[in-house]
Each structure stands twice: as structure tokens, then as C-alpha cells.
Symmetry: C2
């Protein structure tokens, strides 16, 4: 029995909408989680993030354990209090960024050893230590198991052994996590693009038993089509009554296609990262605000939006801020993009509950200018 | 008869408090104007700036005429609409930054010729063109005359000729400005640290007749003591019934000492610039948030403040953001500093109206840790 009830209120094809009820508030699904890497959703105040309608944000264990350290955050009352975000937080395990950001990472049965990208200091992350950091020190609401993610393309043997190690680490994570009335633990399916490995991974995760299930090892370079192929079969291998979380995804079109295949939760740095680089995501596709065609465009990015960044400022003003490399340009475009992703998930929730998700999906794809 | 009535409601020694009534709203004096160089108070939304209690902001003609250009802003409805700030805006003449930022600037009786620091393009600024940019194209509420500011220390002959040129340019500015029912024109006193030149400058400005009078040529390296010496005599040379504006000042202690000498208005990049570099201004002096002593300091910068940046976040969190070079650290410290400067001017207004400004001034200086 999970700490967090998950009520699915409507299904439409394989898409579903519902509510994951946590002790810090409800998470409406499909849900997009803004990424708050270093205890901040980059460039935004927590009030701005909350105003977009985000029910939950994500924190990165790798970054936080190195700076300001998990122990310091614990002494300061935990991650929620430290960054003043009162709603739910999901933390990743740290494993993915150990592989992608740190110096030489060495994976053994026991742990992953790595060097900090900040100061070169040496660290060891075990499944148990990751649980301790996330659940005890940061005080995360949704804790992720440590896993090993292979890059793409992967040899089948490498994908198999990483998946099997992840399954064993999932088991150790579950044992370390124990029973917690106000926190949840999610397992992570691996297996790259190999269906039988995804199946084996799902079976082993279900045997261990988690509060929710993530799909890892996607959005690592395989592209939209190959990801969709995996999503044609992988989500259904995971329990239908628990939330399914597609890690690190993605563009708006990825979200819509993944929801169509039974995914409930997402996280991605895309809206904030691309916002810092002058890119805005809209119903008509992505716009590069540096483009001279916006220099005297007096219209806002989305006049129907409740978000001030989307509806109050003209594209001409945003163009000026981006060209002048003003911080406010980074702030407003990050804010707009997070708001757009929330608007998109809200629109999907409504379409599913009204039984018209297929029409929504078709219209959405048609409107997105490449 | 000026477009903007200036009602002085209380005097305490030479300090005074009142209201400058403009067509876009009241400016409570003493007033601190946040600097919005390139149509943005750096790192802050206009809503955040307004929330600090700022009645008026300043825009820089030099920056705006080069990018996005004054003509473009005019086509987009003027500076207020472009940046979505509905309260009053004062613009400088562009002259100061032509001297300090551009390539070789050449001053003649007619104009100043200069090269853009952005792309090297050549431009000419006359007193008349500065008025046109500010009053007609940007739509500024308070327009400054073009002047020539000498650096410090200055030879008396150089200070005299720059002051006299400024007086002639003031005359031309007034003629170009004409009669405007909803905009005001301020003249600028020059004369460096020479009392008789300040006197001659004031007399010539008064002869021309302006809606308000600025003190230029200070805060250019002479230091607090030398500035205060000039402020001992220069403000009183200017009409007592019109606002006196000390340009480019300054630190909190400078503001308090200038108000004690009859100054009503200020502008400075200090709160935003130092905020972007990790410095916070408080009743106890300035704090460098990078300092390790704040790493686990759970107290806010000013728990009594209405500004979220001042009262919601701990110094430990701000320390973390500054160390991690997060944009949010620049945002929160800029916001806090602008709020502190507004809180300081509000406290001075109250102290003057209650006849206890001398006690306030003494207490303030005693609390400011060096």
C-alpha cells in the first residue's frame, strides 16, 4: 500500500488523467515538473513557478549533494524550507548526472564513485546513500532509486547488465527506504530500446514493488520516433494503477505523444534552458526571439495566458531584452515557457477528461510549425 | 508655471518632504529612482519594482537611442508602454554616458559627437535632439537638459567652460522643449567643487527657468566628504520651491546626508549593480553574501520588510545562490536592495514629517557598520 493514493479520474485511449495525492498537496496528472537543479528553478522565484500552476518541482541530488551539500540543507530544515517551495518535490537519485557531468565515474556492484565537476573532490554514491540524501536530508516527497542509464545507441549486453544492476539497486533502495507514511519511492525501468529488456526490467521492479514507476534511458539521443517506438510498449508493462514518469522529457510534442501512450509525469530542463537562450515555446511551435522579425512585433507570446510573462510583454520588448542580453529576458522567457508547459498539461488533462484527446493530439501536431 | 506642482508638506532643518504631482502619478520626496538603463531595471520585472514602492524610475537616453533606438520605441508606443511601467519615468540627456561609455566623444558648441560602444556607429547629440528623443520619442515625464560633466579633479578653467556650455545648452533645451502640459524639464547645475562656479551655474539656470533643478558633476570620484562640502552650499543656490535632484547618488549614507542638505531626488545603479555582485544593503551596512559566515545563517535580510526578497529567503539560501552563480541570486539581491532604498527614503520622509530627522540621521550613521 502506497503512501500516496493515485486516483485516475478519466481514460481516453491509453491516455489517462488523475491526481496523485501527497502529504504536501495534490499533483494533477499528466504533470510537468519544472527542474530546480540547484535549489532554484533557474531564473525564477518560487512564487513565479507556483503562479504557472506547477504542482511539483524536481531537485537534482547530484548538484545539491555537492553544493551546498545535503547535510547543510538538512541543518537548514530541508529542501522545501531552504528554497521556500511548500508543494511537493521529487528528487532524482544523482546517478544520471554522475555519469553526464562528473569526471571519471566508476560503477561497481556496490556503488558509483565519481569526482565533482565543481572542485574535483571524490564522492561515492550507493543506493542507500542516495535514499539517505533524498529522503532523510533533503526531505524529498518522491524519491527515485539509484539506477544506471546507458547512452544511446547501446549494445544489448551493456543495456542488459545496466538494467539488471538497476534492478538490484532498486531492491537495495526499497530496503533502505523502508516504510514511510509521507514519502514515496519510485523505481526506474531501463533496457534501452530492447523490448525484452524493458519487459524484464518492469517485471523485476514490480516484484520489488514501488509507489510509482519511471521510464529511464530515454531522451538520451535516440530521437522522437525511436522514443515513441519504446513508448508504444514500455508504459503498459508497468502497473496501470500507479503513476508512470518519463524522465527528462521533453519538447511539447514529446509530451503529447507520451501522454497518448499512458505517461503521467514529466520533467525537463528544456523550458528554462531554452528560455535563457531566447527561445519561446508556444501553441504555434518554438520562436527564436533574437530573430529580427520580432523587432517591432507588438503582440504578446500568448494573450490568453494568465502568466504576466506570456501576456503582458510584447515580442518586440522580449526581442530587445534578448538582444541586449538583459537578465529580465532570461527571466521572462523561462517564466513564459514554464507557464506554457503547465498550460499544455492542463489542456491535456481537460481533453482526456472530456474524451477528446485524439482530436487534441491531432490539432496540436498540426499547429506546431516546425 | 510648471507642469508639475511640488507640494512641500514638512521641513526639518534643511531637509524637506513633499510630493511632486505628475500626470502619471505622485512622486513622494525624498525619492530614490531605480535605474532602468536599457528599458529594464536590471534583473527585475516592473511589478517587482513597483512592489518596492518606487514612484518613478530612470531611463538612459544614451542606451535607448542606440538600442532599440528611440524611433523604434516611439513606433511601439513610447517607453512606458514598451517596458510596461505606468508610473513616471525620468530620462537623462545621454550626455554623461556619451562621455563615459562611448568611443572618442568630441564636444563642440553645437553638439557632442560620439561612437556607439555597441557597434562603433557614429552619432551626434545636440541639446535639441536630446529633447526630441526624451520628450517626443520616448515620452519621458521628466526630461533632463543636455550638459557637460567634467571629471574630478577638474581644473577651474575646464570646470568653468563646461558649466558655461551647460548653461547655454540649458537655454537651447528650454527653447526646444517649449510649453508642455504633461512633461517637465530639469536643468543641471555644474561647476565641480568650485563654489563660485556653482553659484554662476545656478543663477543662469534660474534665469532660464526650469521645472526642477539637478546637481550634476558629483559622485564622480570626489568621495563622500568632498561631495558633502559641495552639498553644504550648492542646493540652497537653487529655488526652494522646486525639486532638487542629486544625479547618480549613491550609497545609503550619501542619501541621508544629502537629504539633510535639502536634496529631494536621487538615482543610482548601486542597488542593482551591487545586487548582481552578491552585495546586500541593510540598516546595519552592506553585506557580502559570498562570505562563508552566511552559509548557515537562517535569518532573512530584513524580516520587517514587505519585500519577499528581503523577508522570505534566508541569508544561507542567498549565499548558496550567489556561490552557485544562479540568476535568482542576482534577482533577489537586486530586488532586496531596491526595496531597501525605498524603505530608507520612506523612513526619511516620515522622520522629516515628524520633526525628528536629526535623530534619524544620527541613529542611521551609528548603525551602519563599515
Amino acid at each position: 500500500m502506497s503512501a500516496f493514493p493515485f486516483d485516475i479520474s478519466a481514460r481516453d485511449g491509453r491516455a489517462r488523467t488523475g491526481t496523485l495525492r501527497t502529504s504536501r498537496g495534490d499533483i494533477r496528472t499528466p504533470a510537468f515538473m519544472p527542474v530546480g537543479t540547484a535549489a532554484t528553478v533557474k531564473a525564477l522565484t518560487v512564487d513565479q513557478v507556483a503562479q504557472t500552476g506547477a504542482d511539483i518541482i524536481l531537485g537534482n541530488t547530484y548538484h545539491l549533494m555537492l553544493r551546498p551539500t545535503a547535510e547543510r540543507i538538512a541543518r537548514l530544515g530541508g529542501l522545501h524550507r531552504f528554497m521556500r517551495w511548500e508543494r511537493p518535490i521529487l528528487t532524482d537519485s544523482g546517478g544520471f548526472q554522475v555519469m553526464s557531468l562528473s569526471g571519471i565515474a566508476k560503477v561497481t556492484e556496490e556503488a558509483v564513485a565519481f569526482q565533482s565537476h565543481i572542485d574535483g573532490s571524490r564522492h561515492i554514491l550507493t543506493p542507500e546513500r542516495s535514499i539517505q540524501i533524498q529522503a532523510d536530508l533533503l526531505g524529498s516527497d518522491i524519491v527515485m532509486q539509484l539506477d544506471q542509464c546507458v547512452s544511446w545507441p547501446a549494445e544489448e549486453s551493456a543495456a542488459a547488465s545496466a538494467m539488471q544492476l538497476s534492478a538490484r539497486w532498486g531492491n537495495r533502495s526499497k530496503a533502505a527506504f523502508g516504510d514511510r507514511p509521507t514519502q514515496a519511492l519510485f523505481g526506474i525501468q531501463q533496457g534501452s530500446t530492447f523490448e525484452h529488456l524493458r519487459r524484464e526490467s518492469a517485471d523485476r521492479l514490480i516484484e520489488t514493488g514501488f509507489d510509482g514507476y519511471a521510464l529511464g534511458g530515454l531522451a538520451v539521443g535516440e530521437g522522437h520516433a525511436a522514443m515513441c517506438e519504446v513508448l508504444d510498449y514500455a508504459p503498459e508493462m508497468l502497473p496501470a494503477d500507479r503513476p508512470r514518469y518519463l524522465m527528462g522529457v521533453g519538447k511539447p510534442i514529446d509530451l503529447v505523444e507520451a501522454v497518448a501512450r499512458g505517461i503521467d509525469m514529466f520533467d525537463c530542463v528544456l523550458p528554462t534552458r531554452s528560455g535563457r537562450h531566447g527561445q519561446a515555446w508556444t501553441w504555434e511551435g518554438s520562436l527564436n526571439l533574437k530573430n529580427a522579425r520580432f523587432a517591432e512585433d507588438d503582440t504578446p507570446l500568448d494573450e490568453a495566458s494568465d502568466c504576466p510573462a506570456s501576456s503582458h510583454y510584447s515580442k518586440a520588448y522580449l526581442h530587445h531584452l534578448v538582444k541586449a542580453e538583459e537578465i529580465l529576458g532570461q527571466v521572462l522567457l523561462s517564466w513564459h515557457n514554464i507557464a506554457f508547459f503547465q498550460t499544455l498539461t492542463a489542456a491535456m488533462r481537460l481533453a482526456i477528461s472530456e474524451g477528446r484527446f485524439e482530436a487534441f493530439r491531432r490539432d496540436f501536431a498540426a499547429r506546431q510549425v516546425k
